[in-house]
Every structure is written in C-alpha cells, then in structure tokens.
C-alpha cells in the first residue's frame, strides 16, 4: 500500500474549513480624505451643527493659545498643543451622545473640554497638582492617557462591557499617528473587531510623532488601511474639515451603536505647534510645510463656508470670539491661583484601605511637614 492509499483522498487545496472571511473591498478607505467644506456635500450640512462646530473651534483655538501662554508663565509644567487639530478634537466630542465615553490621549484635553470637562480640571495633569483632575464618570471621559495607545484597549473593554450589560453605549478612543505603531493599537483593534465592540478609533495623523515623520512610522498605504487587516472598515477624512470629521465620526458612532462593530478613522491633520513647549520643531521640519498647513486652517475653512453661505454674520463671528475670550479670561484667572496641595493625599488613594506600611510612611511625612512648619515659625520669630 502506498502512503497515498493509506491516507485516502488527496486534496490539492485546503479542506473547506478554510474560507475567505469576508470581502475586504467594502472595508477599504477612499483614496482621498473625505471632505465636506468647499464641496457640494456642504450644502447638505445642518447649519446649526456648523455654527456649533464653529463656536467650539474658536473656543478651542483660544484655549490652546491660553494654555500655551500659561506654560510660558510657569503655570503649566508642560502643554502639548492641539492647535491646528481643533476640528478633530471638537468633532470627536460633538459626535458622541451623553451616555457615550471618550478616551483621550494627553494631547486631547480640548476634546475633554468640548465634552464638558472644566478646563482647569482637564489641565490638572499638565499643571501637576494631581494626575487626573476630573471625575471620569461625571462626563464619561476616561483619564488622559500618557503611555501611547494604552487607552485603546480600555475603550474596547468598556464598550464590550456596556454591550454585555445591554446598554447602547459607544466608546470613542483617540490616538495619534505615532501611537499606531504601538502593540496596544494592534491588540485593541483586534479585540474590538473579534468582539464586534461598539468602538470608534480616531487616529489624528498630525504628521509627526514628536520629530519622527509618518514615513518613518509606517509603510502602510494609509493608517486607515490598517483597519482592513482586522476586519473593520477604515475611513480617511480631512482632519481640518470639522464638518467632514463630524460626519464620518457620527456615521461610525451610529454604526457601532446599531451593533455594526468598530471603525477606524484616520483624520489627516497637522500639528502646527511643536510637540510641546519643551520641543524645538525647527530641528526637524521647515517653515514652508507649516505655512502650507496654516493655509488649510480648520477655523478658516468653516468660517469661509459659514460666511459665504450667509449662515453667520459679523455679529455671529464676534459672539464666538467674545465667548472664547470669556472662557480664556476665566481659565487664566483660575489658573493664576496656586492650587491647593495636600501632601497627605499621596497616601490616601493607593489602596481602598491604606496598608500598615503606608500608614507608617504617612506619619513620617506628617512629622517632616510639622518640623518644616516649626522651622518656618522659628524663622519668623
């Protein structure tokens, strides 16, 4: 008996257990970033939505300027500006319902603020008087995540848990182009697709991971194309076109809420400022590139649309500016007060019940503080 005879039938192709999983074509992103403003699609946009987006963009730009100024005055330890990326930040917040969750990275304080977080509390991490300054459950905004892409699996888990509980809650997770190289980005997208979790991943491709340009970050046709490998749709959008970003994200949120699973959205934008105040962008990019992007400014794009179509008059523009100035003045005034610090807080939230060891260390610090105070009182006498 030959080996063939012993084994029975001979199959030149794999057994039927192997099947192509799905047609990848519908998952593929468009060749060009989707745009609304300045195109025929703009006529279909809701004027009220455009006005709301505009007001938030103007506030957002002012917020970025104020936070940057506070850094120069020593009121913030560091500020990673989202200047130029306001359309993504604002649209992310406005695309969600109140019951939904936002998972921001450290550059996304503006998205948190646009969702309702008090700017002072949003900036607590960057001022340095605590880590997370706001109650994550108050506005359903997860703590700002500093380790890149690590918040993405959290968003997947939360969305999955909500679905298990029968709540129609969607999680929107934000990450940058650099973050897409992290392992957690891959694992989060894979889990989300396998579980069909109601999550929307928003990648703000702002051109740089600190100094490293996208060309050194990936060889993928686009970041949106990465979605296809996980079995979810990838969408490519002009990240400076607030109406387009809002539409794409809203569609993805609706799709997720309806049980359609996750979507990866790549918003093509540009980081106008350096990585943070501590960075020097002139070491890795030229003025011409920055100027080209300044000419594709998210506020100008929307302002042009609104004024050209007569949806916002000079008084409306002025009102938006006035509102932003008031927000900035309030932020400036409150951030110029020294935060109240209580060193004892350091021990109180490590565990639900403070351990004996931490109680000892707490007492040690208290004694040090008391000695310090006695010294100061002694000096005064």
């Amino acid at each position: 008996m030959t080996v063939m005879e012993q084994r029975g039938a001979y199959r030149p192709s794999p057994p039927p257990a192997w099947q192509p999983r799905m047609d990848p074509a519908p998952l593929l992103p468009d060749a060009e970033p989707y745009r609304v403003l300045g195109t025929e699609a703009a006529a279909k946009s809701d004027p009220d939505l455009l006005r709301r987006l505009y007001a938030q963009l103007v506030r957002g730009r002012r917020y970025n300027a104020q936070a940057t100024a506070l850094t120069k005055q020593g009121r913030l330890a560091v500020y990673p500006s989202s200047t130029g990326q306001e359309a993504c930040e604002v649209a992310a917040a406005l695309a969600l319902e109140e019951r939904d969750w936002l998972f921001p990275s450290y550059r996304d304080t503006l998205a948190a603020v646009a969702r309702g977080v008090d700017p002072v509390e949003a900036l607590t991490l960057l001022r340095g008087d605590w880590h997370t300054g706001y109650d994550p459950y108050a506005h359903r905004v997860a703590p700002l995540s500093t380790p890149l892409a690590t918040q993405l699996p959290h968003a997947v888990g939360l969305a999955h848990a909500a679905r298990l509980k029968g709540d129609d809650v969607v999680a929107l997770a934000m990450v940058g182009d650099g973050g897409t190289s992290e392992g957690d980005f891959h694992e989060a997208l894979n889990f989300a697709a396998v579980w069909q979790a109601p999550v929307v991943f928003l990648v703000q491709n702002n051109g740089f991971a600190i100094s490293v340009p996208l060309a050194k970050q990936t060889a993928a046709p686009s970041l949106a194309h990465k979605a296809v490998g996980y079995g979810m749709p990838g969408r490519l959008v002009d990240g400076n076109d607030a109406a387009a970003v809002h539409e794409v994200l809203s569609d993805a949120v609706r799709h997720a809420r309806a049980g359609g699973g996750p979507t990866l959205v790549e918003a093509v934008t540009y980081r106008i400022e350096a990585h943070t105040n501590a960075d020097d962008a002139t070491r890795y990019r030229g003025d011409a590139e920055v100027e080209a992007w300044r000419a594709h400014d998210p506020i100008q794009l929307l302002e042009h649309e609104l004024t050209a179509r007569g949806l916002l008059d000079d008084a409306g523009l002025e009102a938006a500016r006035q509102d932003a100035e008031e927000m900035a003045a309030d932020l400036r005034e409150r951030m110029n007060r020294d935060p109240e610090l209580n060193p004892m807080d350091l021990f109180d939230h490590v565990y639900a019940e403070t351990t004996a060891q931490l109680r000892e260390q707490r007492a040690l610090l208290r004694a040090e503080l008391e000695a310090e105070q006695d010294d100061q009182e002694g000096d005064l006498r």
Partner: protein, 334 residues
C-alpha cells in the same frame, strides 16, 4: 446531626470552585483569558465555567496578554469584576505596561474615583518540568509596584478563600498560583468552605521554638518537610506562610522572629533583588535586638530559570534549607 463527608480536593479544584461561586454570587464577575472557555484552561482551572455561565461570562480571548488586561481595565471601568488568567508566569510579561501604568495606578490617579477591581491570576514557579518560559517566579516585579496586592496560596483552603477575597476586593490583586501545587490534595469541603485569614495576614503553619522559616506559595510544603526533617537534628522549626506579599504582615512575621530569635527566608525567586532581601531588611529593622544570627535567605540561584532536567539543582530543597539552618550561629548560644 449529620457529618459532612470531607473528600480530598486539589488546589486546582478549589480555585475553580472559588471562581464558580464568585460568578454565581455576583453577575459582574467575568473570567477571561487564553483557552479559559471551551478547554477550561491549560491547567483546567476554569473547567466548566463557560458551560455553566456562558461564553460572555467566561471568555476565550485573542492571544494577546496586554489586550486581555487592557480590555479588562475598560470592563472594570464600566462596573464589571474581571478575573483575568495569564496562561503562564512568563506569558504575563506583555501585560506589564497595562499592569504597571494603569491597573496599579488608576485608583490613585483619579483620587479613588475609578477603582479597578481586577484579579490577575498567574500560574507561577517551577517544579513541573516546564520548558523555558514556563517556570518563572515573577513576584518581585509585582511587589515593586505600589497599588497592587500580591497574594499566593499554599493550601487548598487558602486557594479558595484567598481567591474569593481577591475577586471581592475593590483593588487589583495579582493572584499567584503555585502551579506545582495545583494537584496537591487536602481534606477540604467545597460545600462548606471555611473562612480563612484575610489578605494581608500571614499564618504560622507550624509552631516552633528554634528558628522561623518565612516562606510562601510553592515553598511552604518544602519548608514544612524541612521542619519535620530538622527534628532529627534537634531543631524545632517554625514555618510562617506569608500568603500575601503585599500587603506585608510585619506583625505576624516579627512576632514569630522575636519568639525564636532566628530567621530564614525561603523562596524560589532569585535571591538578588528577590522578595527575601526586602523581608530580611524588614526583620532587621524591626527585630534587630531579638536576633541571635543574621537573617539568611535560601532562594533560587541568580540565573535564568534552568531547563527542566536541571531545575532540581536550582529550586530550594530540604537539604539546602537545613544547611542554612545550620549556619544560623548556633554555637554563639553556648
């Protein structure tokens, strides 16, 4: 009065029962990990849970430990109590960033607003003939991370009791399961599990007057065996089972050392940078004037975990423990 027949149960069975009872008592408890569903885990510790509670409650996840723990964080944020299985000690390392940067810190980061009640079960330690990456003692890494509880049972009753406590805890618990004790048996009644001491308390497993062996997890039975053998040498050894490395029970440990005046820390983990150094330092700081001899350590060698055919030379055994006991400066007594 009826007497309940007490059959011997294995540690693995007690662990399964703990998860089963926790899941039955609390619908927010979810078990997740690699192969935990249909297969029941590579050690069968989650056997039957998917069948009884459904795959939404006992979930086979994709093979990615950071993703498993990272999604568990999100589930805990939404009010669930995930019980995560890391398949083997060394396969938990991809989840380190989630554990160190998020799981351990979220409560503190949010001033207590966002606690993460996650149990991370990690089969650990050697002695089962495992090939490379299947026998690490990784407890020192976890101990060095504030915000985590680090717990390890050595008895069948503790396996059940401590795991129930871990799952009920509002803090993250790294639950280290000594895999060579999975099949150890004890008369333990799953229908009437007795209460055990809380997480954070050490227990004297064997009282003694000559010296105190301080140990945990897989080394507890080894120390008990050594204590029996030591009787022939005229030593009456006390054995303290730490049960909980974090929080650490200074009180029980120091009381024991003050009674005997001599202390020996025994663990599989490497000696250099291992838990024994911390424990010896704590004893010295607190009980110096009660000590008749320096605190000694019997630990695994400072080498990468050996291949299975050589592991017996690495693991602390009865002889190495007794040799160390002999070095506790007994002559100074005379």
């Amino acid at each position: 009065m009826t007497t309940v027949a007490v059959k011997p149960a294995t540690m693995a069975q007690a662990l399964t029962r703990a998860m089963r009872d926790a899941m039955a008592a609390d619908p927010t408890v979810h078990v997740m990990g690699e192969d935990v569903g249909t297969l029941g885990g590579v050690f069968r510790v989650t056997d039957g849970l998917a069948k009884e509670f459904g795959e939404d409650r006992c979930t086979d996840t994709p093979l990615a430990e950071a993703g498993i723990l990272g999604t568990a964080v999100g589930m805990a944020m939404y009010g669930l109590r995930p019980v995560v299985e890391m398949q083997f000690d060394a396969f938990a390392y991809p989840a380190f960033e989630q554990l160190i940067s998020h799981v351990s810190r979220m409560r503190n980061r949010t001033r207590g607003r966002m606690p993460l009640p996650i149990t991370v079960r990690v089969p650990y330690g050697g002695g089962i003939g495992g090939v490379e990456h299947h026998s690490d003692s990784s407890e020192a890494y976890y101990m060095a991370t504030p915000g985590l509880h680090v717990v390890t049972p050595a008895t069948v009753a503790d396996a059940y009791g401590l795991l129930r406590q871990a799952i009920a805890s509002d803090d993250p618990v790294v639950f280290l399961e000594p895999k060579r004790l999975y099949w150890s048996k004890d008369s333990w009644n799953p229908e009437h599990p007795t209460d055990v001491e809380p997480i954070g308390r050490a227990v004297v497993r064997r009282p003694g007057s000559s010296a105190t062996l301080i140990t945990y997890g897989p080394s507890v039975p080894v120390c008990l065996e050594a204590a029996e053998a030591a009787r022939a040498e005229g030593w009456d050894l006390e054995v303290v089972d730490l049960r909980s490395l974090v929080p650490f029970d200074d009180e029980t440990v120091c009381a024991a050392v003050r009674r005997t005046g001599r202390a020996l820390v025994v663990h599989e983990s490497t000696g250099f940078g291992g838990p024994g150094g911390e424990i010896a330092a704590r004893i010295t700081e607190r009980c110096f004037h009660h000590l008749e001899a320096p605190v000694l350590r019997v630990a695994g060698f400072d080498i990468p975990y050996p291949p299975p055919m050589l592991e017996r030379h690495h693991l602390p055994g009865v002889d190495r423990i007794l040799d160390a006991v002999a070095r506790l400066q007994w002559e100074a007594e005379g």
